[in-house]
Symmetry: C2
Subunit: 157 residues, 2 copies
């Protein structure tokens, strides 16, 4: 059980990764963003074993990233992104950006175009104050309120 309890660490990279970090989860979400809603569509597009898909969809629903909606009784259920799930889009776009740069020798297989515009979607890391672009070198980590709360909780134990 060691791995699961990484989620208790006060780190906003580690915690999501415990949910998203496995073979299939982000691929399923990629499909969801592409408009896929049905069990068999996920299964067929990805080639994921059915029991695995069942498990992963359930987990994503548990985490409030997808909702399972069965319109009418006897209707086929649909899996849709919640707004929490929708917020994952920048992660996928950051991955795509890296993929286009480093794993697409023939150029991007897909362009993610801005609707009604000549441009394409890009992720950028920038300062929310001065707006300047940033890289890892410009970043200085510093304790935040969540860490203080976490340490406080430790003391209370």
């Amino acid at each position: 059980m060691r791995y699961e309890q990484l989620a208790d660490l006060p780190c906003s990279i580690t915690r999501p990764l415990v949910v998203l970090g496995d073979r299939w989860t982000l691929l399923i979400l990629k499909e969801a963003f592409a408009g896929v809603r049905r069990f068999n569509a996920f299964q067929g597009n990805l080639g994921i074993p059915r029991s695995r898909l069942q498990d992963r969809l359930g987990r994503l629903v548990d985490h409030g990233i997808l909702v399972r909606r069965q319109a009418d009784e006897g209707e086929h259920p649909e899996y849709r992104l919640t707004s929490k799930g929708h917020d994952l889009y920048p992660i996928l776009m950051a991955i795509r950006d890296w993929g286009d740069t480093h794993m697409a020798p023939d150029g991007p297989p897909v362009r993610y175009r801005h609707r009604d515009c000549a441009g394409e979607a890009r992720v950028a890391l920038a300062c929310d104050c001065c707006g300047e672009g940033m890289t890892a070198h410009d970043v200085v980590p510093e304790a935040g309120p969540g860490l203080v709360a976490h340490l406080g909780a430790d003391l209370r134990e």
Copy 2:
């Protein structure tokens, strides 16, 4: 072997995920960005089994994301990010952003501050043409050169 050959699909999200999509890989990279270089430091910080770490580091080296440098003979080896590895930073920051928003009830445990500035690092999805901010709804996928090349290769088979 079905899973590994997802890497052949012409999709710049799928291809990186085949490399990065597992329990530990992104956590290891997170540590690397935090300045960790030594085998035992990765192992201790993450609690990853030693044999697993060995395997993952080797894989990252094979993919040109890390380099293993052994300064002098008999010196302890170091694992450092290559520039390709360095380019993964926005992915981690996008994950962190989501983590701060949805998995940090007490506020961000760590602030990623802009050096010599009051601000913090943020990832943003924007149009590279008009500069406007974008969400998944504003994105229209469209075939790119990599897809054409891929289809051409298929025909040649």
